[in-house]
């Protein structure tokens, strides 16, 4: 079912590992060696972080594996949705009103 379950060399682990190192370095590069504006940098490195998370999820954690693979995927999507609501919701609510005058 999944390619990891064989005695071959664990290529996808290795690829995942190299990719994650590369993405980390890329993020550092974007942050310190380009001249994008702050918000663009955050968007780029944020996207890179999401790719890294996906690498961990699919190449190391094998989310889709097991009998309930689809449940795991739904569970992760739902959790990420909650995470977005909590993070962006809180920021929006606490910084957009005229109560926010630190």
């Amino acid at each position: 079912m999944s390619s990891t379950h064989s005695s071959r060399f664990p290529w996808n682990h290795l690829i995942g590992f190299i990719l994650s190192i590369a993405l980390t370095l890329l993020a550092v590069f974007v942050k310190f060696y380009t001249s994008f504006s702050d918000s663009i940098v955050v968007w780029i490195i944020g996207t890179l972080a999401i790719f890294q998370a996906l690498i961990q999820l699919f190449m190391f954690m094998h989310v889709t594996e097991g009998k309930e693979g689809w449940i795991n995927v739904v569970n992760m999507i739902y959790s990420v949705f909650l995470a977005l609501v909590i993070v962006f919701g809180s920021i929006w609510v606490l910084t957009s009103g005229h109560a926010a005058m630190h």
Partner: protein, 198 residues
Amino acid sequence: MTQANTPLEYRSHQSQMNILGFWIFLGAEIVLFSTLFASYFVLEHNTAGGPAGQDIFILKDVLIETFLLLTSSFTAGLAIHFMRNNAKNDMIVWTIVTLLLGAGFLYMEINEFIHYVHEGATIQTSGFTAAFFTLLGTHGAHVTFGIIWISLLLFQIAKRGITEKTSSKFFIASLYWHFLDVVWIFIFTFVYLKGMVG
């Protein structure tokens, strides 16, 4: 999925439930950490005259921590790979490497914290430091717990070998370990990189 093809850790119904249950738990962990992140973002600029992130973060140390943790995630994956090939000794070796890398990460992080305290940033300094140390501390506590947990499992694997039960326990611990890596990536990106001046 036929029996023979199923990885050992999925074979019994109870193991399947344990693994599924752990995934659900990870869902809860995502919510927990996103709450910590949300609070950090809200309090990030409330330094109350104390140091801000850009005053204290050191890229080099953080990068080393990141590589240690990323590598440990990789070696944890290798351990699972060998577990699935029923290579007990290789599995134990890679697990020990994973633990050492994890310990190295912790060592670096504790040093980092000590450095911050010397810079005048303790957990009581400001809203920013409270949120920062709590987010990082929660992650660090998870790593600590993971090291202890996996060490206990090592004993069990050494004693009982790779069985349906030990393999499912170990698989779950590896999920946990990878998850901590995911959390770290977001800390690295949104706390450290974002908080430093480019």
